[in-house]
């Protein structure tokens, strides 16, 4: 092709447009019609009259078929480490997230009140757990739920590390890695967490936790409506909101009569007390906080954008280099 000033300018213009286009702020792709949930802490009392909260009980019963069924002979240490994660003998635990318990109710004393705070996956809008899974088997659906495919998960637990609330929990001795575990020490099990009962949602049913709540402290609906309802309730009671901004936005909105800073402080203070009482050197679980985490991916958006436009920059540079040659 003969290079003329006109073709050079046209090519340079096209390349520059390609470069500039992605620099626009990324469009939020969370549909207003996707699902969101509301958890109203002014209503939740932790089912104090029951042996365990109804949401926890119904989740455990309703999702029992999805819980891990590890083969004991595959439960081995994660070579070269001398440890593994096996919850199969601690299925009864309901006071924290485990592969067998996808929701728990945290009871806290905050500003003279007893608060019951149901905790589970927040189903983030820009979930690092999904976007950084090296095998892409952690999914964010356009409908809202974040779910892990247990058939393909290796159990590397990166999703837990990058989750600000450390939600996914690992069970050893189950999953695809058991196929090669005996000769190749890669993988550690499968990660488990709440999937917002996505199959029930697809059928038009509510998640188990929402349906079972006797106080109607949990609601599910279209994102726009749930956000509006949460704001309405917070405005009416002088309450506080959590989940709209945290980690770049989530699909789980809490309404609380007390500030979330105070709740987080109470969570940390309790963790400190537990630590003080625990034997020295004992590894304790990370407290599931109610802080204001910044989205890990959002911190590096400029770098991501630069890598997206890099091919166009390369093409532009080649165009310039070869055009100069022609002009000479």
């Amino acid at each position: 092709m003969k290079i003329t000033r006109r073709t050079f300018l046209a090519g340079a213009g096209a390349a520059a447009a390609t470069v500039a286009a992605p620099l626009k702020p990324a469009q939020a792709a969370i549909s207003e019609n996707s699902y969101a949930t509301l958890i109203d802490l002014t209503l939740c009392d932790g089912c104090k009259d029951l042996s365990q909260p109804a949401c926890v009980d119904s989740c455990r019963q309703g999702n029992a078929d999805k819980f891990p069924k590890p083969d004991p002979k595959h439960i081995r240490d994660y070579w070269p480490q001398k440890k593994h994660e096996d919850w199969s003998k601690k299925k009864h635990l309901t006071n924290r997230l485990t592969p067998y318990n996808w929701i728990f109710v945290d009871t806290l004393e905050v500003e003279g009140r007893t608060l019951s705070v149901p905790r589970r996956c927040m189903h983030c809008d820009n979930p690092a757990c999904v976007k950084l899974c090296p095998f892409g088997i952690n999914h964010k659906t356009p409908e809202g739920p974040v779910w892990i495919d247990p058939n393909l998960c290796f159990g590397g637990a990166k999703c837990r590390t990058v989750c600000p609330w450390s939600v996914p929990q690992r069970q050893a001795g189950v999953g695809v890695y058991t196929l090669w575990e005996s000769f190749m020490p890669v993988g550690g099990g499968v990660m488990y967490k709440c999937d917002l009962c996505r199959k029930r949602l697809a059928r038009g049913d509510n998640p188990h936790c929402v349906d079972s709540c006797p106080k109607k402290a949990m609601l599910i609906g279209k994102r726009k409506e749930i956000f509006a309802e949460a704001e309405k309730r917070a405005a009416a009671t002088g309450g506080h909101l959590y989940g709209m901004e945290e980690n770049g936005g989530t699909s789980t909105i809490y309404v609380s009569p007390v500030p979330f800073e105070a709740i987080d402080k109470a969570i940390l203070a309790r963790a400190e007390k537990i630590k003080a009482k625990a034997p020295k050197g004992k590894k304790l679980p990370k407290p599931m906080r109610m802080h204001k985490p910044e989205n890990m991916l959002a911190k590096q958006t400029e770098w991501a954008a630069a890598s997206v436009i890099a091919p166009a920059l390369g093409a532009l540079a080649a165009f310039v280099a070869t055009t100069k040659k022609e002009e000479k």
């Binding site: 992605p22 990324a26 469009q27 809008d125 990166k158 093409a315 540079a317 040659k325």
Partner: protein, 214 residues
């Protein structure tokens, strides 16, 4: 009197090559760092690498490497297409000649006569090039979805991610094979050209007789 060396690679070609090679090394290291490996396999215990299990650091390094890698790969393609330089593109019959060439590497056959590039170099170039293009394509998609609340179809993203990871492994294998091939005695005279641009004229005349040297 003719020079004792001949120019095999221009400065542009060498700069492109080394940009791809060095960014490729960074991408491999940071890419493996994006898998939960370095803590488990005690890489973090190697002095100076205590940070290597920090996903935010390895992710930024991966973006940094990707900027140079993607730009250099596309630069290379566009640059040579526009200059109509196709000497390294595979030709008909290259696979058969390559097999003989591979046998020759291990003393099992006579090295065939070549032009500027050996037949097996052209075949390997096409393979590495295709792998690089797949890595660039899938990598750009993976970076794009990190720009904000961008939700790609889950199965599409899964396929792109798996492809990227699998081809990253393949790239590492090809990278190692490429470097290993340069250690073979017959190939060593080609190595200086990646630094200086020149190779020995006598070697070129004997081993690359079909190359029309300017």
């Amino acid at each position: 009197m003719s020079s004792l060396t001949v120019v095999r690679h221009s400065l542009t070609v060498r700069l492109t090559h080394w940009t791809i090679a060095l960014s490729g090394i960074l991408l491999l290291f940071s890419g493996f760092g994006q898998m939960p490996m370095y803590k488990r396999y005690n890489v973090v215990k190697i002095p100076g690498l205590g940070w290597s299990d920090q996903y935010d650091i390895t992710l930024m390094l991966h973006y940094f490497g990707a900027i140079f890698f993607c730009a250099a790969v596309i630069f290379h393609i566009v640059y040579h297409i526009r200059r109509k330089e196709y000497a390294i593109m595979p030709k008909t019959g290259d696979i058969g000649v390559s097999i003989t060439g591979f046998k020759a590497m291990f003393g099992m056959a006579e090295e065939p006569l070549h032009a500027k590039f050996q037949a097996k170099q052209r075949v390997i170039y096409a393979i590495i090039g295709a792998v690089c293009l797949i890595l660039v394509g899938t990598g750009v998609i993976k970076s794009y979805k990190n720009l904000g609340d961008i939700i790609l179809q889950p199965m599409f993203l899964e396929a792109m991610t798996m492809l990227h990871t699998a081809f990253g492994m393949l790239f590492m294998a090809l990278f190692i094979a490429h470097v290993a091939a340069l250690t073979l005695k017959d190939h060593r005279p080609l190595v200086p050209s990646m630094f200086t641009g020149n190779i020995d004229r006598k070697y070129a005349e004997e081993h690359l007789p079909e190359w029309k040297i300017d």
